[in-house]
């Protein structure tokens, strides 16, 4: 089977992709907004932070405290950056999904129609 692969949960994958997309500007508020826009759902900041903390514990993300700004009531931002292991986990998850979905486009569409 080879080396152990890293797989991500659905929401973990979305959050990790949002952090990657935001690059230098990835902190709580912008990540929540990006996820909410992409999923077209009102996502809670608590859910985003719970996922970010979990991803950091797994070593997929790194965080550090930024500057405090007046528009945040003088509170500091916590910035996030995706680590190499995080990128690998994203690739592994995407590759597995693609392998399983390959050739199923017609099957998935007709299943959806039947249900």
């Amino acid at each position: 089977m080879g080396e152990q692969k890293d797989y991500l949960g659905n929401f973990e994958e979305i959050v990790l992709l949002a952090v990657l997309r935001l690059a230098e500007n990835a902190y709580g508020a912008t990540i929540r907004q990006t996820v909410a826009e992409a999923t077209e759902r009102d996502v809670s900041i608590g859910a985003v932070y719970a996922t970010l903390d979990r991803l950091e514990r797994k070593g997929y993300l790194k965080s550090w405290q930024g500057e405090a700004t007046p528009e945040r009531g003088g509170r500091a931002k916590r910035y996030f950056r995706v680590e190499g292991t995080g990128v690998r986990a994203l690739n592994d998850t995407a590759a597995t999904r693609n392998r399983l979905a390959k050739g199923l486009e017609f099957g998935i569409a007709s299943l959806g129609g039947l249900i």
Binding site: Y27, D42, R75, A76
Partner: protein, 161 residues
């Protein structure tokens, strides 16, 4: 009426002190009285009434932020004084576990709250804020109960072994 109408944007731009706001409030009252007596244009009277409401609200916000002072608000604060609902913020601080969370999460919500006030108004923003607090609280409670349950199962297995 040869004077500009003071709205939130103009008050922010001029960075008015508490004394300025009081002077402005008096000026509006004098104008309104004179207009009423001369049976002036009702449209202007309505504008003065709205202006009075805006300035009085700003004065209350000023006193709340800096009681018993007459200093100008810092520029960035004056640019947007909309603060999230205190009750919601207190609940949030109560449910957040770590010191880091108590700094970062309310800061993120406050930043977004100001953007929402500017875009959709204070009422919508307050509702959004409370929704965020409620959703986060529910998540924390669920996680806490989940961990508690796991701990009990662990203890039960240990007893069996």
């Amino acid at each position: 009426m040869n004077r500009p109408m003071y709205d939130d944007a103009l008050i922010d731009m001029l960075n008015l002190s508490r004394d300025d706001l009081i002077e402005l409030l008096n000026d509006i009252e004098v104008h309104a009285k004179a207009f009423k007596e001369s049976k002036g244009d009702s449209e202007i009277l309505e504008k003065l009434r709205i202006e009075h409401l805006v300035v009085a609200r700003r004065l209350r916000a000023f006193d709340k932020a800096m009681p018993a002072t007459n200093q100008r608000l810092p520029e960035a604060v004056a640019a947007n004084t909309a603060a999230p609902p205190q009750c919601g913020e207190r609940i949030l601080l109560l449910i957040l576990g770590t010191k880091k969370e108590r700094v970062n999460i309310p800061g993120d919500l406050e930043e977004e709250y100001r953007g929402i006030v500017a875009k959709h108004g204070a009422r919508y923003a307050k509702l959004w804020y409370y929704k965020q607090v409620a959703a986060s609280a529910w998540l924390m409670i669920r996680t806490a109960i989940g961990w508690g349950l796991l701990a009990s199962i662990g203890a039960w297995i240990r007893r069996l072994i």
